[in-house]
Amino acid sequence: MIKIDKVSRNYRTGEIVVQALVDVSLEAEQGEFLSIAGPSGSGKTTLLNLVGCIDRPDSGEIFIDGEPVSARNKKELAMFRREKLGFVFQTFNLIPVLTAYENVSFVLSLLDIRESEVKARSMAMLAEVGLDGKENVLPGRLSGGQQQRVAIARALVKDPRIVLADEPTANLDSKTGEDTLKLMERLNEKHNTTFIFSTHDPMVMDFAHRLVSLHDGRVISDERRTK
């Protein structure tokens, strides 16, 4: 479903070129619960950005459902992200002026879905992440864990093929982080959505069904785990 083929990505800061990813190759099947692990600067976020089509590789290719990402133009990529991808960010990145319900429903509004269906799906998803009763609350009045749940609901409400989560528990305490991971795992199993999340936290790595480790932009291990 996802094939990363010899992908490299460099960043230039003035005269200095930083190799964020070097010849990375990886494949992921539908419904995987995959963690990209590694220390800061190992290239985890860069790899997620490339899979999420919000960055382009300098060399190599990424295929999603057999189609090369590089063949798509900017508009097609936006539509692809809109329909097929869900994102969960480390800092939640909710729209502060929208309520929990509005933050979730807005991604459906972009998909030309009937208003009644938008409402039903958004409310159901909020209930699924344990936020029923919090629909009309603004993000600023929610705890970190609740905000991350809204972000997860936002990522999943459109029933995407892939959810990409960049350090989803980094801003949460360990108990809330664990709850969030359990929620993600449950949703992964229920919806068969592919989850790819980055982390450098050993507790988070323990949750992964598959653990890919990066170091200095290279894959150093790829292990499947049985729970």
């Binding site: 950005n49 960055d55 508009k75 809109r82 994102f87 990145n93 807005f106 972009l110």
Partner: protein
């Protein structure tokens, strides 16, 4: 589109403080522009009114040779037996005031004046009974009284009186030449001191009765000009052309000049001044524009991360741009309404009560035919311009700022702090 409109509205209403601060920056700029425009326009309008009321009248009948020589104030090119013309004008219900204009040397003697001295100035001989139908000098008498026919008295401006140390009842001598070129001395007494809003009249002109001047200057009833009061809304240029041909039937060899012809020196100067005024207004506009741009750029920059998130979730750049432009349009609209309300409020104050500038500019000639109280004038065009400009500028700045933010990579925007 519905979602984008709703998002823009929510951003406006839920970031209330930011919306009000940004709109207030816009409002201050636009309000200042409307106020400045009202003030400067008021000074121009009042100058024109003071020209007509105290200096030029609406139009003037002259001998056709007089205009070329007008700077010398000649008594050679006159209107003989003006009664026939005055009758014709009365028939047409046009108020008319004959005058003789001549130059004279004013001689002052120590006691009662502080010291001996002389100065050359313009003397206007006016018919005390008819002059009021065209000019408004009588209303500006500050001390003493207005002129009576036949008396050997003069009126003097308050500024000139202050410079000379003159008071009502002080004697003066005017040395001049008669129409036939002989020297003539006229001993007069100050009947009154006027304080006219037209500084040109206030500082360099004295008035004596027409029949007194006629006697001393050997005019035999001739006058140098007949001043007319035309209806306020009439097109002076068209009316003067018609009048000229009608008066030619009574007396050939005359010409009628409109106040615009008579005040061409002032109007040329005012034209130059208008350029300077426009530069001042442009500067006010630029200051407002910089303030608005700065606030809008900051408002959009601080949301770079949000913008990156929206793009990551699949919003197209055009949709994001539209969302920000709708929001900026809302801020622009609120700011423009506030700006116009502020501008109208400030303009109302300056139109109704004015600002007394006498303490600041004193007797200084600043080019306008106004002194003391400066009043504003309503100028709806400036308000409409400011209103549209406010919205367009805000949207334009938002367009540029959003464009700049959209040029960043999505990943880069998400990292922005």
């Amino acid at each position: 589109m519905k979602f984008l409109l709703s998002l823009a509205w929510k951003n406006l209403s839920r970031y209330r403080k930011r919306t009000i601060i940004t709109a207030a920056a816009l409002a201050v700029g636009l309000g200042t522009y409307i106020f400045m425009d009202s003030w400067l326009r008021g000074a121009e309008k009042e100058s024109e009114r003071n020209l007509v009321w105290y200096e030029t009248s609406s139009a003037r009948v002259l001998d056709d040779e007089y205009w070329e020589q007008r700077d010398r104030l000649p008594l050679k090119y006159t209107i003989e037996e003006p009664e026939a013309l005055l009758e014709k004008l009365a028939e047409k219900q046009i108020p008319a005031a004959p005058r003789i204009v001549f130059s004279g040397e004013l001689i002052l003697r120590k006691d009662p004046f502080p010291e001996d001295g002389s100065l050359t100035l313009r003397v206007l001989a006016v018919d005390p009974k008819k002059d009021d139908t065209v000019f408004r000098l009588r209303e500006t008498i500050e001390e003493g009284r207005y002129l009576e026919p036949g008396e050997e008295k003069i009126l003097i401006g308050a500024w000139l009186a202050r410079d000379l140390g003159a008071e009502v009842g002080y004697p003066l001598t005017i040395v001049t030449r008669t129409r036939n070129g002989y020297y003539q001395t006229v001993d007069v007494e100050i009947a009154g001191i006027f304080n006219c809003p037209n500084p040109a009249i206030n500082k360099g002109t004295v008035f004596i009765p027409l029949d007194t001047a006629d006697r001393y200057l050997e005019m035999n009833g001739a006058v140098t000009e007949i001043n007319l009061l035309l209806p306020e809304r009439a097109d002076a240029d068209v009316l003067t052309a018609t009048l000229e041909s009608e008066l030619a039937e009574v007396r050939p060899g005359l010409e009628v000049k409109s106040w615009r012809d008579l005040a061409q020196d002032y109007l040329a100067f005012a034209g130059m001044k208008k350029s300077a005024t426009n530069i001042i207004l442009l500067l006010v506009f630029i200051i407002a524009a910089v303030g608005i741009s700065n606030t809008m750029i900051m408002a959009i920059n601080e949301r770079t991360k949000e913008l990156g998130m929206m793009r990551a979730l699949g919003m197209k750049d055009s949709e994001i741009r539209l969302a920000f432009l709708l929001e900026a349009g809302g801020i622009g609209f609120i700011g423009a309404v506030m700006g116009v309300v502020l501008g109208v409020g400030l303009s109302y104050w300056i139109v109704t009560w004015g600002v007394d500038m006498s303490g600041l500019i004193g007797d200084m000639d600043i080019g306008y035919r106004v002194h003391g109280l400066f009043r504003g004038a309503w100028h709806p065009e400036a308000m409409v311009t400011a209103f549209i400009f406010g919205i367009v500028l805000t949207v334009f700045v938002a367009f540029l700022s959003t464009g700049r933010a959209l040029r960043r990579g999505i990943a880069d925007s998400l990292r922005y702090s």
